[in-house]
C-alpha cells in the first residue's frame, strides 16, 4: 500500500479523534457547571472563583480546549474531580478489563457466528438454515442487558455453575462475554450466510466442484476466502462497538472495566475522567479501524496492486 495512503488514513484518524473530543468537551462545559458540583454547599462566591481559577475553568472555551489537547497529547488529562487521582491513570487501569470482555465476546461471536452462517448457506432452505435465521433474528431483537440478567438467573442463581458478578478468573468472564456476544454472533451469522450464498453461486465455485474438489475445500478455501472482506470490516468495527456495548454489560456484572468508570464519571460530571475515557475509547476505535483497513491488503491482493 502506498505510503501516501497510509499517511492520509493516519491524518483522518487524528482528525476524527480531535472532533470527537471537541464535541464531548463542548457538551461537558456548556451543560453544567462543574464548580457547583465541586464546591461544598457553604462555599462563598470567592471560594468558587478560586476553584474556577485552580482548574482553569475561568478561561475561554477554546483556550481551555487548546490547553486540554496540548496536555492530552502528552497523556495529561488532569486529575479526577472526586478522587484526586490522574484521570488517565484511573481510566487506563480499567481498560484491560474492558478489552478482555470486548475481545472475548468478539471471539465467541466469530467462532460460533461464522460457522453457523456457513452451514446455513451450504444447507440453504433446510431446517438448519431456518434455525440459523431464527437465531440471527433473535440476536438482533434481544436487549443484551436483559439477556445478561436471564443468564445470571439461570447459570448463577439457579444452577450455581458460574459466579454472579465480579472479575476473578475465566469463570467470571463467561456470562458477561456470552451476553455481550449474542447480537454480534447474530449479525455475523446473518452476514456470513448472505455473503456465502452470493459467493457459492459464482462460476469459480462451480469450476472447483467440477474439478472434483472436496466440498469442504471448496466451501472454505474458495468460498469463505472470498466472503471474508465484508466479514473483516464488520468484525473490526464491531470490536469498537463491543467496547461501547460493554458499558452496560459491565454495570450488570459489576465488571471493573472502563464502562463502569465512564458511566460513573458521566453521572457525576467528573469531566477529566469522562474526557480521558472518551479519548482512550476513541483511540481504541480509530486504531482498530486503521488496522482493519491495513488487514484488507493481506486478505485481498487486488488492493495491494492498486486495482479498484
Amino acid at each position: 500500500m502506498a505510503v501516501g495512503l497510509i499517511a492520509r488514513r493516519l491524518l483522518q484518524a487524528a482528525a476524527a479523534l480531535l472532533v470527537v473530543l471537541l464535541v464531548v468537551f463542548v457538551c461537558l462545559l456548556t451543560t453544567g457547571d462543574p464548580v457547583e458540583m465541586l464546591a461544598p454547599p457553604e462555599a462563598t462566591e470567592r471560594d468558587k472563583a478560586m476553584i474556577r481559577q485552580a482548574y482553569g475553568l475561568d478561561r475561554p472555551l477554546l483556550v481551555q480546549f487548546g490547553v486540554f489537547v496540548w496536555r492530552a497529547a502528552r497523556g495529561d488529562f488532569g486529575r479526577s474531580l472526586f478522587s484526586d487521582r490522574s484521570a488517565l491513570g484511573l481510566v487506563s487501569e480499567r481498560l484491560p478489563a474492558s478489552l478482555e470482555l470486548a475481545l472475548a465476546s468478539t471471539v465467541i461471536a466469530i467462532v460460533v457466528g461464522v460457522p453457523l452462517g456457513i452451514v446455513a448457506a451450504v444447507r440453504r432452505a433446510t431446517i438448519v438454515d431456518q434455525l440459523v435465521i431464527g437465531v440471527a433474528l433473535l440476536g438482533q431483537s434481544i436487549a443484551s442487558f436483559w439477556l445478561a440478567l436471564m443468564l445470571i438467573l439461570l447459570f448463577a442463581v439457579s444452577l450455581h455453575w458460574l459466579p454472579v458478578s465480579g472479575r476473578s478468573g475465566w469463570a467470571s468472564l463467561v456470562l458477561p462475554a456470552v451476553a455481550l456476544s449474542f447480537w454480534l454472533l447474530a449479525l455475523l451469522a446473518r452476514l456470513t450466510r448472505s455473503e456465502m450464498l452470493e459467493v457459492l453461486d459464482q462460476d469459480y465455485i462451480r469450476t472447483a466442484r467440477a474439478k472434483g474438489m472436496g466440498s469442504a475445500v471448496v466451501v472454505v478455501r474458495h468460498g469463505l476466502r472470498n466472503a471474508l472482506i465484508p466479514l473483516v470490516t464488520v468484525t473490526g468495527v464491531s470490536l469498537g462497538w463491543q467496547l461501547g456495548g460493554a458499558v452496560v454489560i459491565e454495570t450488570v456484572f459489576a465488571w471493573p472495566g472502563l464502562g463502569t468508570t465512564l458511566l460513573e464519571a458521566v453521572l457525576r460530571r467528573d469531566y477529566p475522567v469522562v474526557l480521558a475515557g472518551v479519548a482512550v475509547l476513541s483511540t481504541a476505535f480509530v486504531t482498530i479501524n486503521l488496522l482493519v483497513d491495513f488487514l484488507y491488503v493481506y486478505i485481498d491482493p487486488r488492493i495491494r496492486v492498486g486495482a479498484p
Binding site: V20, F285, N289
Partner: protein, 283 residues
Amino acid sequence: MKISRIARRSPQLVWGAVIVVVFVAVGTLAPVIASHDYDAQDLSLALKPPLWAGGDLAYPLGTDEFGRDTLSRLIYGARVSLVVGFFSVVVAGLVGISIGVLGGYRGGHLDALLMGIADVQYSFPYILLAIIITAFWGAGLVNVIIALGLASWMTFARAARGSTLSVREGEYVMAARALGARPARIVLRHVLPNIVAPLIVFTTFQIPSRILAEATLSFVGLGIQPPVPSWGNMLAQSRGYLLAQPWLVALPGLALTVVALGVNQLGDGLRDLLDPRMKHHVG
C-alpha cells in the same frame, strides 16, 4: 396482491405485522386497556405473584415492590417504547436524510465534509454517545428521543446520499434543471419523492434498535424517569428481585424482545416483498 397470497409467501411478514399492530394498539390505547393506574401504589399488595404462580385475577402478572400492577405498567411501557422508537427514527431520519440529500445532490467539498463528519461519528459507539448526550442534557422522554436521533443520523444520511446520487443524473432531474427549476424545488419535487420508498423500508429496520436503546438508557438511569414506566426502567427497578421474584425481571424483557422481533420480522418481510431478489441473500 391478495392478503392470503402474501401470507403464504411471507408468513414472517404476517407475524411481524400482527405483533406490530397489537403493540401499536396497546401503546395507543394504554389508558383504556390498563386496569390500574401505572403509579397506583398499595404496599399491602407488594410483590404479588402472577396468576400461574398462585396470584389472583385482579393482578394477572403480579405486582412490584410498591404494589403496582405489573400488567398495567407493561402496557404503559409499550406506549413509551412506541413513542421513542417512532420519533427517534423520525429525528434521525429528518437530520440524516437532509444531510444525505444535500451532500449527494451538491457533491464536491460539501459532500466530502458531511460524509467525513458521518464517518467520525461512526467511529464512536452510538449508545455511548446517547448516554453522554442524555447525561448532560438531562434524562426524560424528549431528550431521549433527541439523543437517540442525533446519535444515529449517519445511517440515514448514507442511505439517502446513495439514493440521491443514483437519481441525480436521471433524465427528469436534468429536464427540471434545464427548465430552470431552483435546486430546492428539484430536491423537494423530483429527488425526494423518488428516494423515499426504499428509505421507508430502511426506517422500519431502525425502529427495533431504538426501542432497545431506549430500554438501555432507561436501565442505566438516563432514560425515562420513574414513576413513568418504561420497560428499561422497570428492569432496573426489579433487578434487586431477580432471586425472589424473577418474573418482575423476565416480563419487561420478554415484552421488549417480542416487540423487537415483531418489527424486525415486519422489516424483513417488507423487504422480501418489495425486493424479491434479496430473499435468498439476507436471512
